[in-house]
């Protein structure tokens, strides 16, 4: 479990989607969430589905990884799909058997809603699967920069996020170590009645907090010694470069939006 979490969901690769600038990907996903809700008929949903399949193909991510996290939701999805089929009573009757009657409108609604749900989940999942958490943070920092005018501390937030990301493996290790030390003394955190678990969690938290504050003090001193002085005029270790492919990605979502609006009106 520890290994799985250290790397998160990010799957390193060298596909077109992997190489895109995180800013482009964030803009893309954000715009996508909006244009999904333009769709309202067969043509628009088909277009969305094809577009999503194209993205998945371009990211060269195995379908297994996409579906993996979906398992608990798939059952719910199937449930709603059938609910729509059996309880919408509009349009022509497609199938009739004893007490089961399937109407055209029900089938249509069931499929539409499942498609909308699938494309939304797949596209947002592709983002987190192809972009490392640290580059998403960098991308967010740049994209949220205009909010600095509203006195929001964007740079500081991004710094705190980067520090958190950096220390997740370290703290994970430490948690693991403390848990083992406590288990050796007979405490059990993962099972047993809630009262026992509450008692077991305090000796785990105390050393974690103390060492985190201590570590923070050291790190802050180290940063200051090296002349850290906030966001203004600071050069970056990880440079973001905007390429032609990023422009293409952003344009593609604009075109997709236009296509959807056109199909919505004229088909």
């Amino acid at each position: 479990m520890m290994d799985k979490l250290i790397f998160g969901r990010f799957i390193p690769g060298d596909s077109f989607v992997h190489r895109l600038d995180p800013r482009a990907k964030l803009i893309f996903v954000f715009a996508f969430i909006f244009i999904v809700f333009i769709a309202n008929n067969t043509a628009t949903y088909a277009a969305l589905l094809i577009f999503t399949i194209l993205i998945i193909l371009l990211s060269r991510i195995k379908l297994y990884f996409l579906i993996n996290g979906l398992k608990p939701i798939l059952i719910l999805m199937a449930f709603t799909f059938f609910l729509h089929i059996f309880f919408t009573k509009e349009g022509d009757i497609l199938y009739h058997w004893k007490f089961i009657t399937i109407y055209e409108e029900g089938l249509r609604q069931g499929i539409f809603i499942s498609v909308r749900f699938l494309v939304l989940v797949f596209v947002t999942t592709v983002l987190t699967l192809t972009t490392s958490p640290i580059s998403i943070t960098d991308g967010m920092e740049v994209l949220l920069n205009p909010l600095k005018k509203l006195k929001l501390p964007i740079h500081e937030l991004a710094l705190m996020m980067s520090i958190s990301l950096r220390f997740i493996p370290t703290l994970m290790d430490e948690t693991d170590k403390i848990m083992k030390a406590q288990t050796a003394r007979g405490s059990d955190l993962t099972s047993g009645p809630i009262k026992e678990r509450i008692k077991a969690v305090v000796p785990l938290l105390v050393p974690l907090f103390v060492s985190a504050f201590k570590r923070a003090e050291d790190l802050a001193t180290a940063m200051e010694v090296r002349g850290y002085r906030g966001g203004e005029g600071r050069t970056r270790y990880r440079q973001l470069k905007w390429h032609v492919r990023d422009t293409i990605a952003v344009l593609s979502i604009v075109v997709m939006g236009a296509v959807l609006i056109y199909l919505r009106k004229y088909s």
Partner: protein
């Protein structure tokens, strides 16, 4: 001279990490539906609030959820669950801060935690009714529960769940605070 602002930022980062790690060890409470899960991730946020102020606590809640979204994604595409988690955290933390600010003793802390529990339970029931449940229904396309059915879900599920969650967090935090009393006072002196 020490730069407390920078040190505060770094500490918030660390606490967010701990919060995120604790969020992994979540568990559902048997009688409630699976999406209601108890975890101890609000404890670091509480600690941040009483040692560094409410903004620090809220920041921990926000970063924890953003990290969780990076690492686990959201089954709804749009992270409704994460938004709900941030709101729950804030509703729990803020009353604790306001009560504790006026009465910096164990008594003040426990009163604050009880008020926080009530605010979280009632606040989340109301918000679930008007905001989160409809959002879930919209994005997940579960048939919309409305009116009496939704009220029943909330009164028998969300309200008692949040009260129990609040009691668990209160118990842990009071135990923690009494164990670390001196240490917490030291941090308060340094940061506030």
């Amino acid at each position: 001279m020490k730069n407390t602002r920078l040190q505060k930022m770094v500490t918030i980062g660390m606490l967010s990490s701990i919060s995120f790690v604790l969020m992994i060890f979540n568990f559902p409470l048997p009688p409630f539906p699976a999406f209601l899960e108890v975890d101890f991730s609000d404890i670091p946020a509480l600690l941040a609030t009483i040692t560094m102020g409410p903004v620090a606590g809220i920041t921990v809640e926000v970063i924890k959820n953003v990290l969780d979204w990076f690492y686990k994604g959201s089954p709804t595409g749009v992270p409704v669950g994460h938004l709900a988690n941030i709101t729950t955290g804030i509703l729990f933390i803020m009353p604790v801060y306001f009560v504790y600010k006026r009465l910096t003793t164990t008594k003040g802390l426990s009163t604050g935690l009880v008020v926080g529990t009530i605010s979280m339970a009632i606040g989340m029931s109301v918000l679930n009714y008007f905001l989160f449940m409809p959002m879930y229904s919209y994005f997940l396309n579960v048939p919309t529960e409305t009116g009496a059915v939704l009220t029943k879900t909330i009164v028998t599920g969300i309200l008692p769940f949040n009260i129990i969650k609040g009691i668990i967090l209160t118990a842990i935090f009071l135990l923690l605070a009494s164990n670390m009393k001196k240490w917490i006072q030291k941090q308060q002196k340094q940061y506030m």
